[in-house]
Amino acid sequence: MPFKIEFTGMDELIRKMDKLPEVAAKVAAESLYEGAGVVADAVSGAVQGIATEPFKYAKGGKRRKPSPEEKAIVSNARHGVAKFKNDGNTIQTSIGYQKAGYATLKGKTKPVPVIVNAINSGTSFMQKQPFLRKAFSKSKSAAIATIQAGIEARADQFDLG
């Protein structure tokens, strides 16, 4: 995305170029936050699509579906956009259940990410329901478009006064 920066004389150019990384990082972070929101909304919607059945032990090698209690834990757990990391060149975030904490299921306390992973990736005794991968893949194009639109909407900030 090209942006126009006008200057007269070297002093002004140096002053504007010094300011540029700061403004670029701010615009990138704001746009990334909007794009990450699209993906996080897709995850919240995909959780509702998890198929369940009342809990039963997986016998005879059969794989079971998650129980309604497990689905309730996953849908009520804290999830969304993680804290942003800026390493100088890139700004990164992640969307998921990193800080979802713990939940008690059938008298046992388990980390919520473990339950989420068991549903998303499947186990030898639970059917796979890749709701996270589906949400990420399906919202990828929309998230990129949102980030690009966000940067274009903030184009006036690059006209460094």
Binding site: S121, K128, S137
Partner: protein, 121 residues
């Protein structure tokens, strides 16, 4: 079914290792495995959902399908199947695959690898 996916399934089902005549074949099931095989390692391959599509005048011209390969193994190193599966994925999906998760099941003692891949269909 995308033809690339069918080729990948056939390649995974024909995975063997070991010196003949003691050749070992990896039991691979398509989609759902309702009876867990009595083997040290087994695999599951499935086509999960449509990942993305290119539209021309509102009609789909190119579609990307996403699927996954699971390897369950009692051996920590996957008993040699990890390298063979990743080689098959590279051959049939190019670079469009990744290791999505690697877990250990405490209840069953199985190590679980999951690769996600995308094919054109």
């Amino acid at each position: 079914m995308p033809s690339e996916y069918t080729a990948l399934v056939n390649a995974l089902k024909s995975l063997t290792q070991g010196e003949s005549p003691d050749t070992v074949t990896l039991p691979v099931a398509e989609d759902e495995w309702y009876t867990r095989p009595d083997a040290v390692s087994y695999g599951v391959v499935s086509l999960d959902f449509e990942a993305d599509a290119i539209l021309a005048e509102g009609l789909k011209t190119d579609t990307a399908w996403e699927g996954s390969v699971d390897l369950f193994s009692m051996a920590r190193n996957g008993a040699g199947w990890v390298d063979l599966i990743t080689a098959a994925l590279t051959q049939h999906c190019g670079a469009s695959w990744s290791l999505n998760s690697h877990q250990y099941e405490r209840e069953t003692g199985l190590f679980h690898w999951e690769w996600a891949f995308q094919v054109e269909g």
